[in-house]
Symmetry: C2
Subunit: 341 residues, 2 copies
């Protein structure tokens, strides 16, 4: 960097020592107001900006957090959930003056190597991980780096790890109860067993059935992998058993399910009612617009950053208190509660 202004230069101009400038910079006490003002003026006049890297080295803090998005293969950004959470985390980080670095596909070999190297290099103050697949657990890399880690979504096979999650059981329950309350009796589901969220939503479905005195019928339960194709296949598997209503555990799968219904010549909601989950943009665009369960993604992202920052600051007593955010039913046309437009 050619001739950047350094703290030394500012100190000279203000006739004080580097230490004093540093104190002003960081708002520390023990500086006389007039000195503080003078230094501040010089800083403003020169447009001095502290050199991040140098600051990091000295303070052993980088103010950089990582967001690692798992996923095998191409699925990554196909589900709009990931972009949404990424955006939310990005904004959360900005609001706390943290820099966000992004790692896509940390589960494949190259991703692991990259991430491992970064972690060992001490660049990151903390790491957020999306727990979107079962089997994600504490990988050796970050166990060794002992860096603060927080999962977004509940990891399945790891205890003592902090996470921020939404209440997926409630999601499944809300959707299913709504359908039952509307009078449907053969209520099916297209769930997923790929991750904890999928399990939870099915649990909510089951809970609602039980509570309303309906029996669990294996043939009315299909499983998918959050892709539209799997929703399509799931619906085709359900059709022979004549469901009156279906809770689809993700909007993305619901789009596939819609297509299967259309191809089978069935109308939504007249012949089969549908409720999705997530309330991502495609839900509104669908034909008919999807009744769905809204996850507070923006809040999830912000909260994840806040909690991670908190863990980083605490450094010692890791506050193992996890957060589960509530979800909310959004009624549109696909469930039959509203008249079609």
């Amino acid at each position: 960097m050619r001739n950047r202004i350094t703290i030394q230069r500012v100190a000279e101009l203000a006739n004080v020592s580097k230490a004093t400038v540093s104190r002003v910079l960081n708002g520390y006490p023990h500086v006389r107001p007039e000195v503080r003002d003078k230094v501040q003026r010089i800083i403003d006049e020169t447009g001095y900006q502290p050199h991040n890297i140098a600051r990091l080295l000295a303070s052993d803090r980088s103010s950089i957090i990582g967001l690692a998005i798992s996923s095998s293969a191409q699925v990554v950004f196909n589900d709009p959930y990931f972009p949404a959470i990424t955006e939310a985390v990005s904004k959360g980080a900005a609001s706390k003056s943290l820099v966000l670095s992004l790692f896509v596909s940390y589960t494949d070999q190259q991703g692991q190597d990259t991430l491992g190297r970064i972690l060992a290099g001490g660049l990151l103050d903390g790491l957020l991980l999306t727990a979107d697949y079962k089997g994600i657990s504490v990988l050796p890399q970050w166990r060794q780096a002992d860096i603060p880690v927080l999962f977004i979504g509940r990891p399945t096979n790891t205890v003592g790890i902090n996470y921020v999650d939404v209440d997926n059981v409630q999601g499944g329950w809300l959707a299913t109860s709504h359908l039952i309350d509307l009078g449907y009796e053969r209520v099916a589901t297209i769930g997923s067993n790929r991750n904890a969220a999928g399990d939870d939503r099915v649990t909510g479905y089951r809970k609602a059935l039980k509570q309303h005195g309906l029996a669990w019928d294996e043939r009315l339960v299909a499983f998918g992998d959050y892709s539209p194709e799997s929703g399509y296949a799931g619906m085709q598997a359900l059709l022979p058993y004549k469901p009156q209503a279906v809770f689809v555990a993700s909007d993305t799968m619901a789009l596939g399910a819609l297509r299967a219904l259309r191809e089978a010549g069935l109308r939504v909601p007249e012949d089969v009612a549908l409720v999705g989950h997530d309330d991502l943009p495609p839900a509104v665009q669908a034909d008919p617009p999807l009744t769905t369960v809204r996850q507070p993604i923006a809040r999830t992202g912000q909260l994840a950053v806040d909690k991670l920052a908190q863990i980083i600051d605490a450094s010692e007593g890791t506050p193992a208190e996890n957060s589960v955010l509530p979800v909310k039913l959004i009624v549109r046309e696909s469930c039959g509660a509203l008249p079609a437009k």
Copy 2:
């Protein structure tokens, strides 16, 4: 960091100086093979990892590049283009051992502040910017930081700035020509004038018309903002003028257009043929699947990283040579060239 192994410790264990270890680490010459081996052995045994931050400070290189995604309001990650390019850039960065940091919404006030601070702090070696809106130009922040910058997509009002783009003129031309070749005569378009890509696609459309001796009819041209809603509105505006075929300048808008057609009781492609642009996942999921122009997004991302890295390394003679990647027509059902399934 508690008790990390430092270069000093490695040097002691190997009975050499820090300088020598540094040479081994960076593969510099002037180290006797046996010394090199010994140092390497110690490094392996201890699992030593150089401290990134310290290295950065000393070498004035961070190996961190930024990706700034512009956009006002909520639009950001609604168009699957952004997630796709983000993923591509992320992988590109990983393949070059660069760390990627992400800045969403760099055009609003907070985003600008954040980015400005980071740039001035000298944390980033280079910056990639998505040129998705007209009016994005060289902001004072990075002009001052004089950091290497590369646009993804062609910026409209800036010269002498490097960019990587896809051949949008060709895209518009391919789509329109295809429709004309299929025998449609009233070929409309839903374009966009929000960015250079939009302009170019319309230019391609116009070029194809001219080349086939068809007249430009103002009433057959609508403009949108890449949202499904604007595609919907655009199609409604076109319908009174009875287009036989429409080139929609993005798949996302095409989805909206499809909905407008369905609501008008028109079948695709029997009544109106459609060609989209981008070939993002929704194109395949659409009903009917969209004929569209495929942009090589993965390659764009990788190329952008490569070029940025090149500019960073060159430091002096900025190679102002820009790249424009070719696009390709993908024929599916919405254009009527194939029989419906």
